[in-house]
Symmetry: C2
Subunit: 251 residues, 2 copies
């Protein structure tokens, strides 16, 4: 039973995220999916649609973690430069992938045919494999430890589906949450001591303010479900002994 922790970083490629125009949804979506694969999302970088910025981020992430995911910039228009940037990062040429070309030819057969612009979506860094995209034809791309996904969240989701079970990972991180109508500053010592008493467990404290009241959710994380449960039980007991009511599942 290996205790190796598998890690991934994500490069979000998108002027639209950095301009504030679009609310990113891929970070949370990919993080949750990675958890199930037993891979921990360890870093995210959001960079603009500028080749040298993509190259620098991809090179930093792919050499620091087991996997490097990217989202965005794989469509047919002039601002879609992800494939060129990643080929440059790897020092390989861009080629048309025959299977991607065949998929696109079929997809566009009844939609006006495969134009030059559409053929752009069959371009991959040399040596790459495809990640199936049932939704819109244009595939994702896998090369080495790099996984190149779409930016539109519903299409990203389909590509994650296609990748499910194909990446090596470790034990998934398990988490449990309890909530309490308490200012976290009142129980900071209690939290710290509880975390210390349970090796291998991390407790996160997330305050909120609702209907004029202060509360916090406490999230307990570990790879061993029994450790999580023991820590949740202990934390619940300590909070209740200090006179607070605890809601399992958070507030």
């Amino acid at each position: 039973m290996s205790e190796r922790i598998w890690t991934a970083g994500l490069v979000v490629i998108g002027d639209e995220i950095l301009s504030g125009r679009t609310q990113d949804k891929n970070v949370a979506q990919i993080a949750l999916w990675l958890n199930v694969q037993g891979i921990r999302l360890s870093e995210v970088r959001v960079v603009p649609d500028v080749q040298e910025r993509i190259v620098a981020a991809v090179n930093a992430i792919r050499t620091s973690y087991d996997y490097c995911f990217t989202t965005g910039g794989i469509g047919p228009t002039h601002d879609d430069i992800t494939v060129d940037a990643i080929a440059a990062a790897l020092g390989v040429p861009v080629v048309v992938h025959p299977q991607a070309r065949a998929v696109l030819e079929k997809h566009y057969e009844t939609r006006g045919g495969l134009t030059d612009a559409r053929l752009r979506m069959a371009r991959v860094p040399e040596g790459a494999d495809l990640i199936v995209n049932r939704m819109s034809g244009a595939p994702g791309i896998r090369i080495g430890n790099i996984l190149i996904l779409a930016g539109v969240p519903s299409i990203t989701a389909g590509m994650l589906d296609a990748l499910t079970g194909t990446l090596e990972g470790g034990k998934p991180v398990v988490s449990g949450t309890i909530g309490c109508w308490v200012a976290e500053s009142e129980i900071a010592d209690l939290l710290r001591e509880t975390e210390k008493a349970h090796e291998g467990v991390a407790i996160g404290s997330y305050p909120f303010f609702r209907e004029g009241r202060t509360g916090a959710n406490f999230v307990v994380r570990a790879t061993d479900p029994a450790l999580v449960q023991a820590c949740i039980d202990d934390l619940t007991r300590r909070l209740e002994e200090s006179g607070r009511a605890v809601m399992s599942g958070g507030i």
Copy 2:
């Protein structure tokens, strides 16, 4: 009239974002606010609650851009290590800021008093100034070109309000959007040519799929509103001449 472009990077400090538990809202909020200040958000890094990771990201961002924003990790609990990490990044000690202490003493006067845990929120890297937080007492922190903000989006918003007009910036980026029920692959050449014909303008193409139909929004960005308008007019004309109906304001 200076054409200097002012830039900022953002370090999001938060296990809760990387675990997928919490959907980040601060990237878009800060990006939109920065646009109004005439500052361009140029990079975001999301890192876990681990001191050396925060130090590395803050040092990379603060030396690459005019401003380095951080969100998260400034509360009273054991997982709030942002202040210590940034002090370490700058090589300065952590001290209790007398004004922050006074603010917290007043805030907690009727809420059980200023405990040791709460006093943690008055700790700053030596030499720092405070950013007012009307909502929950605990202030944000400003030191050099680093702006340390809360992670809870409503509190972040209050701190941005307090910062409005205090940062030097350039011309805000202006954008205009038009939408079209068209597959972007059909008009990729048209887009590229339009962008080329308008120097200083960037056109982003953002496809979507709704009610079984394919469409795209085209976002035109520049610092000169007249350039944006001229490009929007030209793009609209070109799309209409190619037989497409255009919706101003996007779809």
